[in-house]
Amino acid sequence: MHEWALAESIVMATIEEAQKEKLKTITQVTVHIGELQQIEKEIFLFALNELAKSQKPPIKKDAFQLKTDKSTLTCKNCGETWSYSDMKKKFNETESESIHFIPEVVFVHARCPQCGSPDFEITKGRGVVLSSIKGVR
């Protein structure tokens, strides 16, 4: 249930932004979920909906739209690009769980499939991002 902590950050950021924009009701919140963090979507959505109750300004029921981003990892050494799904079978359960908690530990547990370098970057699909908020003023 570490998804709960991330959902809490989304709801708090949503409320902060809505207050800045003087929204009276929040009607739609789009959240992008990076593949690398392996979020359990159902648990995450449940947590978002639970945490959204009794907020000010109110968040409309079913306001949260979740979109999954496929990850892209790019080697700084040889330029190779690949995704988490290309290599996830190589991780044991502990390594996979560690990447779920802290996506950057992928640099610890993985290497570029082309040249073996640890010097690659997460160019897409890292973790949870609040993309847009819609509401009524």
Binding site: W4, L6, S9, T94, I102, V108, H109, P118, L130
Partner: protein, 241 residues
Amino acid sequence: MEPRTSVIQKRLKNINRIIAVASGKGGVGKSLVASSLALHLSQKGYRVGLLDLDLYGPSSHIILGVKKEFPTEEKGIIPPMIHGISFMSIVFFTEEKPSPFRGGDISNIILELLAITQWGSLDFLIIDMPPGIGDETLDVIRYMKTSEFLVVTTPSKVAMGAVGKLLNILIELKKPVLGVIENMTMTESSFIEQTVSRVPVRYLGRIHFDETLEESIGNPDRLSETKAMKDLTVLLQKIDL
């Protein structure tokens, strides 16, 4: 939009004091001072957390003798209790493998750790800082606004050169500095005390080089009985810790 920054203050709101044990230089004994400080406060009956932010070379877990303990998941991650200290470190996720992180990754890891760690109520959170004034120091200043700094140096002019730069930036940013500890002294030179006297920071005193200390690494009960710990306790009394 980055959502994690919004939740960090909530995670830290029930922590009374945050003390970052820092130095401009590596190898001066920060981790030992941080772990010993956490043990000292815990033995005094305080609720204490220890966060190892040395992401390239974490070592507090070695000093405390952490073996199989692991954080538990409950609306985030709850640090395991090690000798009465709530302990969190990147090592739970890196398994002692090399950690080739770049600057942006460091900030992301710190944000993630601060956003998902459920410390609960603490009297003190001690942070074992990496050396220097890079991402970790700047992120602690940015996200942990109430943090106070306890600065460690050795008697070396080389160490003090780097420590002086850390002190200057902390003074410039108006961060509270509890004082400077001179660690691993072998002579009674006054060089560090005189150098510190030129800045508005308190020189707390010396921890003498303790050749038996290494035997106590990994055993907090023995660590608490060392001459180094006794020296530290005297210095901490000067700042009411």
